[in-house]
């Protein structure tokens, strides 16, 4: 129901195949899709979560990692409140590309964007990037860091909740990035809908 107080746009980026789509689907649909195909262009998902008893709507834009879609995916960076940069802990090249991704983010995203580094697929045995290496990189670039597994639902919920909380905190403090799409007024109306549909029980 349209009773959220905050709307945040979250964009996922990172090399093809690191598991961006799986992370989003795990979070929004609670499943790990078998045989997830490569994303074409951009995908869109929505999820409303609750933080401090407030409803927060997360608009999630899942971008394609393939180089050929770079021009369209970059155009989604600009309006993002949070950018999740994902790599695959079992695939060194996806980690090596991180500086390139940061450059792109620097160029196309807002400077105030919340940036989170995510090392995905920690369920895998063949880890190539030790946790501290990822941590270190994130610290050096002023990013949050989290390791996840979309497959085992490890840290996925936490990742998005953390983002929601953080953005809400930001919004409350600076009153920035605040979306008034659903004001108290609308919330009141929402309750009035509820009123009417069940009024008979009251009488």
């Amino acid at each position: 129901m349209e009773d959220f107080k905050f709307l945040f746009k979250v964009v996922l980026v990172g090399n093809a195949g690191v598991g961006k789509t799986c992370l989003v689907r795990r979070f929004t649909q609670g499943l790990f899709p078998p045989g997830q195909g490569a994303t074409i262009g951009v995908d869109f998902m929505i999820k409303t979560v609750e933080v401090d008893n407030e409803k927060v709507k997360l608009q999630i834009w899942d971008t394609a990692g393939q180089e050929r879609f770079r021009s369209i995916t970059q155009s989604y960076y600009r309006s993002a409140h949070a950018l999740i940069l994902v790599y695959d802990i079992s695939c060194q090249p996806t980690f090596d590309c991180l500086p390139d991704w940061l450059r792109e983010i620097e160029e196309y995203a807002s400077s105030k964007v919340l940036r989170i580094l995510v090392g995905n697929k920690i369920d895998r045995e063949d880890r190539e990037i030790p946790t501290f290496v990822g941590e270190d990189f994130a610290a050096r670039h002023n990013m949050y860091f989290l390791e996840t597994s979309a497959k085992e639902a490890e840290n996925v919920e936490k990742l998005f909740m953390k983002i929601a909380e953080d953005l809400m905190q930001q919004a409350r403090n600076k009153d920035l990035s605040r979306y008034e799409c659903s004001t108290t007024n609308i919330t009141a109306r929402t309750s009035s809908v509820n009123d009417s549909s069940c009024c008979s029980k009251l009488t």
């Binding site: 129901m1 349209e2 195909g37 994303t39 074409i40 262009g41 951009v42 995908d43 869109f44 998902m45 929505i46 608009q59 834009w61 394609a64 180089e67 050929r68 879609f69 770079r70 021009s71 369209i72 970059q74 155009s75 989604y76 600009r78 309006s79 799409c181 609308i186 009141a188 109306r189 929402t190 309750s191 009035s192 809908v193 509820n194 009123d195 009417s196 549909s197 069940c198 009024c199 008979s200 029980k201 009488t203």
Partner: protein
């Protein structure tokens, strides 16, 4: 706010209701019984929903709701909000049937209600559309898009400036890339394109609502459209007709193209780059340059839909993209240049003034860069070809006067000097620029030779006809061919032949401006041709090409004047073949062969029977005794082939030619005089090795002759009798001034000439221009003056007419028009 709301507007009560809602999941269970307690508008809304969603909108009740909304427009926004809330809840509960009905109701209200009352309703409406678009259900997304399209078609009185379409652009673009399974994929993609089209239509006319041209939007819209077009093969079929496809059969590639056309067509000057930039990036990223059919298609679409006055910007942008790709593989650059050549013609019509030269200049600098970077690569050569093609295509669609401008411009870019020790890059650049010139030249249709060959063009061109590199010389001849040939005789004159009667040549009387031209510049041209025949590096092709140039001149400028001049030149060439110490024997034979061919051609064209008879006699004799003195030209001749010097009876005799001319009423005096080409008489070894026409140009001293002396020389020139003072200044006399410096000066000048020759061979073009300009100007002024005096004089008589007074030449019968001045 509703009455109920006022009574229960406390959080606690809401909470209680909230918990009750959970138990009461079926809206039908309780709504019917308590309708009396609810506000009227809610009752109207509730009543449009059937008990069973499959039954669809309750039509009668929908009419009632519409009527109610029209009569109480102030309630419209609340109706909208209420409908939205209901739908939001139904989406949450996945009762899509009801969602669809709610959306349908909103659509109907939107269309039915008057514009001024819509404003707040629209907010709910759009919230509803967004809500549907956010769902993962393809059906709802498609439905929402349809509603959005309907909305976009409505004219709003008061645009709400706070409204933003960011989400819609983002979501529709994402839909354009849908990767759903099965049929849904195409439907969602199609919906995405429709949605984008609607956003564009809605916003394009009013920047304050939402500036759709912002890169943040264009970078989504443009790639989304292109992505939908590129996978389809439809663009390969040129004749695809956008009109006949029925609405429901429209496919995404076609719709995307329509949308693209619309977008481009609406772009004003400031917006074009915002469209083009993502196009170019898309082609780069999706590697769509090689092969380039799709790129050609898209750029044609752009060129044909863009407002014509901006089409030049597209060319410019593509050219700049070529710059950016200077490090890319030559294949990519070739492809881009090829796209350029395919669209540049469309821009040409719109380009004016400086932009034309800018484009040419850009193409030339790309050529120059290419030459600098890769000299021997095959791919690089193809790139150069593509650029030259683009140049040709561009020129092809410009008016003729601009073509000449372009040719002169290209000429000015050719590096000088043309000496042997040029770097290979310089040589390549020269020949590439000549190729470009040739390309432009082929697109140019000469009408008057004098407008085709301004001195400032002719001069350097002839200079280049003497370049050390035989290939370059060949190119220059080809340029001359295409520019001189006005009657499509080139094909037939490409190879020397002594059977010119068999040629089906198209002849037309030369016009007065032509005659003026050849009188003015003939000497310079003939001299250049003669000199280039002296080059011992000539291949057969070179010699044949020079033959073709001469033959074309002969055909194009058939007049008593030129015939004498040409015969003089032909005899000069024969003499060269007889006396040159430099030329290898096969080349000498080649020269004799073209001399024979030209001799036959001239006598045929001029229709001088005795001369023709003489020519065929010689040909017949040569056929029998010395076929090596006839075409075809060979590079190796049989060892027993004898030098023409030993066969004097097979050589064209100057005296005989003079006699035959005289007997036909021609004034052959000039032919008797000392030829400007070495020595004029048979058997006389002149020994003067002529260098190049530039020397002739350097015979500047002739210009120093005082005007009186000039007139003198004219009056003393034989052959023309009963002259009026004006008539004395014939072209002929002028020409003599040019071509026949008095014998006495010759020696004194020899040294100076040597010097000058050296300078001309080594100095740069610019330097040369400085050196020669004043003199040429002088000459030019002189000539202009004379021509003016001629044209102002009462009697507009050409020298031909003067001849006519004495005897009726044979050729008059063939060229009666000649005498129609």
């Amino acid at each position: 706010m509703s009455l109920m709301k006022c009574c229960f507007d406390t959080p606690e009560v809401s909470d209680i209701f909230e918990s009750m809602v959970q138990k009461c999941t079926d809206p039908g269970c309780c709504c019917g019984c308590c309708s009396a307690l609810r506000p009227r508008y809610k009752r109207f809304v509730d009543n449009i929903f059937p008990i069973n969603p499959q039954d669809g909108l309750v039509k009668l009740n929908m009419e009632k709701l519409t009527f109610y909304s029209l009569s109480s427009p102030e309630k419209l926004d609340r109706i909208g909000e209420y409908l939205f809330q209901k739908a939001a809840r139904d989406i949450y509960r996945r009762r899509y049937g009801f969602v669809i009905i709610a959306m349908e109701a909103m659509d109907q209200l939107l269309v039915a209600c008057h514009a001024q009352t819509l404003n707040l309703f629209v907010e709910s409406f759009l919230k509803m559309v967004q809500k549907l678009l956010e769902s993962t259900e393809p059906q709802l997304q498609i439905l929402a898009t349809q509603s959005f399209v309907r909305f976009a078609n409505i004219e709003e009185d008061t645009p709400s400036y706070h409204r933003r379409y960011d989400f819609f652009v983002s979501k529709f673009s994402a839909m354009c890339h849908s990767n759903e399974y099965g049929e849904a994929r195409d439907k969602i993609r199609l919906a995405g394109i429709r949605g984008l089209q609607a956003v564009v239509r809605k916003t394009v006319s009013d920047d304050l609502v939402e500036n759709i041209w912002e890169p943040v939007h264009m970078d989504k819209i443009v790639p989304s459209l292109l992505y939908n077009m590129q996978d389809s093969a439809f663009y390969l079929k040129e004749s695809y007709n956008t009109d006949i496809a029925p609405e429901d059969q429209i496919d995404s590639p076609l719709l995307a193209e329509t949308c693209m056309r619309e977008l481009v067509g609406r772009a004003s000057f400031g917006h074009i780059r915002a469209v083009l930039k993502p196009v170019l990036r898309h082609f780069d990223l999706h590697k769509l340059w090689v092969p380039n059919q799709f790129a050609i298609h898209i750029f044609r679409v752009i060129m044909l839909s863009i407002q014509a006055q901006y089409s030049y910007t597209v060319v410019e942008t593509l050219m700049a993209h070529l710059d950016e790709n200077s490090k890319s593989s030559p294949t990519i650059r070739t492809s881009i240049a090829d796209v350029l050549s395919k669209i540049i013609a469309i821009a040409a019509g719109e380009s004016v003034g400086p932009s034309v030269l800018e484009i040419i200049n850009s193409l030339l600098s790309h050529l120059r860069d290419s030459v600098r970077h890769g000299i021997n690569q095959k791919d690089e050569k193809q790139y150069q070809e593509a650029l030259i093609n683009a140049l040709g295509e561009f020129a092809n669609h410009l008016p003729d006067y601009q073509k000449i401008e372009i040719m002169m411009f290209i000429m000015s870019k050719i590096p000088f000097p043309l000496v042997d020790n040029n770097t290979p890059a310089d040589n390549l650049l020269q020949s590439i620029l000549l190729k470009s010139l040739l390309k432009v030249g082929t697109k140019y249709q000469t009408i008057h030779l004098n407008s085709t060959f301004p001195v400032s063009f002719l001069e350097p061109l002839l200079r280049m006809s003497l370049a050390p590199d035989p290939d370059m010389r060949l190119l220059v001849q080809k340029i001359l061919h295409t520019l001189i040939d006005r009657h499509s005789n080139l094909e037939q004159l490409i190879k020397p032949t002594v059977n010119s009667a068999a040629l089906a040549l198209t002849l037309e009387t030369s016009s007065r401006p032509d005659l003026i031209f050849i009188n003015k510049h003939g000497a310079m041209i003939y001299d250049a041709l003669y000199t280039s025949l002296q080059m011992n590096t000539n291949t057969i092709e070179n010699i044949e090409a020079i033959y073709t140039t001469l033959a074309l001149l002969c055909v194009e400028l058939a007049s008593a004047e030129t015939i004498i001049d040409l015969l003089q030149l032909v005899l000069g060439i024969q003499n060269l073949a007889l006396t040159s110490a430099d030329l290898p024997t096969p080349q000498k034979f080649n020269l004799h062969a073209i001399v024979a061919s030209l001799f036959v051609l001239i006598s045929t064209i001029a229709n001088i029977t005795p001369l023709s008879e003489y020519a065929s006699k010689i040909v017949k004799a040569r056929k029998k005794e010395a076929p090596h003195l006839l075409p075809d030209l060979l590079s190796i001749y049989p060892p027993k082939a004898e030098l023409a010097n030993k066969l004097p009876h097979l050589v064209i005799d100057q005296m005989a030619v003079c006699e035959y001319l005289k007997s036909s009423g021609f004034d052959s005096t000039r032919l008797m005089q000392t030829s400007p080409y070495g020595a004029g008489r048979l058997g006389v070894t002149s020994g003067t090795h002529r260098h190049s026409w530039v020397e002739t140009g350097a015979r500047g001293s002739i210009i120093e002759i005082p005007a009186t002396q000039e007139v003198d020389s004219a009056s003393s020139s034989p052959g023309v009798q009963k002259k009026l003072p004006e008539e004395e200044l014939t072209f002929e006399s002028m020409k003599r001034v040019l071509t026949e410096p008095p014998e006495i000066r010759k020696e004194a000048e020899a040294e100076k000439r040597e010097q000058l020759s050296h300078i001309f061979h080594t100095a740069t073009f610019e330097e040369l221009k400085c050196r020669t300009q004043p003199k040429h100007d002088l000459l030019q002024n002189k000539l202009n003056e004379i021509f003016k005096s001629l044209s102002t004089s009462e009697v507009h008589q050409s020298p031909l007419q003067l001849d006519k007074k004495h005897s009726v030449p044979v050729y008059e019968q063939n060229f009666p028009e000649l005498f129609l001045y």
